[in-house]
Symmetry: C2
Subunit: 482 residues, 2 copies
């Protein structure tokens, strides 16, 4: 088994270089590969299966809350994007432009969608006439393009996959309710399926979505102490309704501008999964979204070779309807090599079946999260496997939650603030006066940004601003972020 | 109920103008709407649900045959597309070009994928080294762009959604087996889920995919007598492997070029569904892919208003786990108006519940395909509803099959051939010598193209060519096509 070490050796330890560890792992676990287009990636089957599981579990929640999926054009005429002033200002610098089609120069250039508010609003204006047409609850799963200078697999790529919800309501209150409801859906999904604890809060004016009235986000803490915005929900107010003329006749036959929301989550979530749960041996996948939940590795020696293989196949068959189970009966690879590979891929449970296990009437189960080995008698597998997976899911969440607790700091002193950000990272909860100038100054000095103004009550009440010491305000979450 | 007629009035009868009927129906049934981008459409929720059902049922078959989903970049560097000579010649005239990104002119222009062979082959070359890596069986669900001059919703749009399979094999025989296997998967899916009978066959050299060695297709007959290519499967031979250097070490440690296939089906299938099954009252959806399989319409009068509504709700609840059922309890619309709307949307079964049905202890079921009314006692619903849906599915298929039989003509006389194509349309089976010149001449004179060289045996054996009367050949399918 001399090849065991070589496999792991190719991954830089987190403590040495977290950033390089991340790049090593996404490649070695075959989540993605670099494509011959700047800033774009090929998502390999193992990575894409995670996305499919996300689509199923998040998509199910989106449908269960009354939204219907639809599909809008990839291209947006430039003039349409330019209608909402803040929106174009925010997105214009990072668009890809189609200038030629079918061999001819286009009369009007087309923007490859960086987000679909503009094109969708132009359709909503046609579809909405009366209060009977409201609320209109639409979601789209698609690819979007934002031309990025510095890219990073899954976290920031020029093209990425996402879902974007777009809804229209009769009143401001209903739009705000929807905005917060979908923030709650994201939180529920990310915490319960991805096992990633998040804080929820409102974005500052500076950090809000280009064109929104208010933006909310869920923020997660990566294991290197940097924060990651894992989903956003925007109350668009009437900004788009006014420029796209989305109006409806209310019950009194009066023409009213509608209220809108939009909200999105993307393949970034895969980056979060990697950075929250991964370790020096590779990924650790939460069972609920793991492409493979249980891998069965027969330990094939000369002795009882056929019996071991037969038992491994039988067991794979036995659980193939209830669990995502895979049999690794490849020849030419040592068991140790296989163990390493499946650990790299983060499979939550490995079942080893060798001649001795056969004699003992069971299998050796090995947990990816803790490395713990547990002998399971064959008769108890139906009962124990789902329980173990549930324990692993819970364990990963609790470990991440403990990490966040250990790395959430309170301070009223700017020097200490700077030191924490420079050395420990993590979340820092500090009072902020609400002034953009202070927000900017803190960013310049520390590279930390305000992640959100928390929706949950945080201890500390009101106090003098960590930066200017003059204005007063509540505590907000600061962190250096991806 | 004076509004009943108005609703239907807005649809042009098929006999008057089939093409206009099609456009009326796609809009009135809310399958799509025109978007403010030339040749692109917005797929509305009702249309997109059909696509989701297609994705689930076809996607399930693609996975069951061992393929894994992945995702490759939207953009293809122009130089990559140009590598395979036939491929670039076929696609260059219809590409959309991205020339600017992030405010700067790109050094190399990017093509928005018209199909993904080029970008995927560039990745396959990295991933494949040894015979152990084969076969590689990949599928992608995505959007593609082909700049079209004349567009038509679902049938020919500048952007469309599809799946594209891409596989790599060690031998020519394996690649051919895969090509035909996936053709069979398409046939099975289209016939059993979409209730559309198809003929399968090989494309001529002229009609084959740009870059393929051999192309096979499934061909369906629309109810106006024109043919529609509903799916294609290509044996790419080694054309792409040689230019993209996809090589593997065989078991003797010899470097070999790989053999490849690709195959695709698109949102065109929705166009086929509309044109094969639709009638003057709108769509007729096959139950297996219908977004709504059963619509429940309470007939609300003053009498027993609450009881009727309560029963309708109870019944909706009762079947919501096993069927795609929808309750239409909207106020302000007459039952007749609702009947018309759901007929337009092609819902296979309508259940009417009025005060009299309540007294009689059942509901009135109305079949969309035949208009037949059947009283169903409440106790037998669990048993009868699935049976009725099955009957409708079968009935639609048989009706389409009968139509195809009635509209498949045999002739050995070119004048008669011309007359059939000009007046009756449909499939014409005629002998063809195999010469491209004859194929071209027939197309010029009649606008009919060779749809395929059938894989199934057709009566007629070999005979003199319908065009030149000199060369000999088997019978092939001719038709005017979409």
């Amino acid at each position: 088994m001399s090849n065991d070490k070589e496999f792991v050796k190719e991954v830089t330890p987190q403590a040495v270089d977290f950033s390089q560890w991340y790049l090593d792992v996404v490649l070695k676990a075959e989540l993605m590969d670099y494509a011959p287009v700047k800033g774009c990636m090929a998502i390999r089957p193992y990575g894409y299966e995670i996305w499919e599981n996300i689509q199923q579990l998040l998509g199910g929640r989106i449908k269960a809350t009354g939204h219907k999926n639809a599909y809008f054009p990839l291209f947006i005429p430039q003039s349409l994007l330019q209608k909402e002033a803040d929106h174009v200002e925010g997105f214009a610098p990072e668009v890809a432009l189609v200038t030629h089609g079918g061999g001819e120069e286009l009369v009007e250039k087309l923007v490859v969608r960086p987000t679909s508010e503009a094109i969708i609003c132009s359709m909503f204006a046609k579809w909405i006439q009366s209060w009977r047409d409201l609320p209109l609850l639409i979601n789209q799963w698609c690819n979007v393009v934002r031309w990025e200078k510095n890219t990073r697999p899954f976290l920031r790529t020029s093209e990425f996959l996402w879902q974007e919800g777009h809804t229209v309501h009769a009143t401001e209150a209903e739009a705000e309710e929807e905005t917060l409801k979908m923030l709650g859906v994201y939180r529920d999904f990310v915490e319960n399926e991805l096992a990633i604890p998040v804080v929820t809060g409102r974005k500052t004016e500076k950090e809000k979505f280009a064109g929104a009235m208010r933006t909310y986000s869920i923020e997660a803490l990566m294991s290197d102490g940097r924060a990651l915005q894992a989903g956003t929900s925007h109350n668009l107010g009437q900004h788009f309704a006014r420029v796209f003329e989305i109006q409806y006749l209310d019950k009194n036959d009066t023409l009213q501008y509608a209220w809108q929301t939009s909200w999105g989550a993307s393949t970034r979530l895969i980056g979060a999964l990697i950075m929250v749960h991964g370790d020096d041996r590779g990924l650790r996948m939460p069972p609920r979204v793991a492409p493979v939940q249980v891998v069965i590795v027969p330990i094939i020696m000369k002795k009882k070779r056929e019996e071991v293989l037969a038992k491994a196949r039988e067991m794979t068959e036995r659980f193939s309807d209830t669990l995502r189970v895979e049999l690794d009966d490849r020849e030419g690879y040592s068991p140790g090599w296989k163990f390493n590979e499946w650990e790299m891929k983060g499979v939550p449970l490995r079942l080893e079946i060798g001649p001795r296990d056969l004699e003992n009437g069971g299998v050796m189960a090995v947990r990816r999260d803790t490395g713990e080995k547990i002998f399971l008698a064959e008769a108890e597998l139906e009962q124990k496997l789902p329980l173990l997976l549930q324990e692993i899911q819970q364990g990963l969440f609790e470990q991440a939650l403990q990490f966040r607790k250990d790395n959430t700091h309170h301070t009223d002193n700017f020097e200490q603030f700077q030191e924490i950000i420079a050395t420990k990272r993590g979340f820092v909860l500090a009072h902020w006066c609400g002034e953009a100038a202070c927000e900017e100054k803190i960013k310049e000095k520390t590279k930390a940004t305000i992640r959100c103004l928390p929706l949950e009550e945080v201890p500390g009440g009101e106090g003098p601003c960590i930066c200017c010491n003059e204005g007063k305000g509540k505590k907000v979450y600061f962190a250096r972020a991806y």
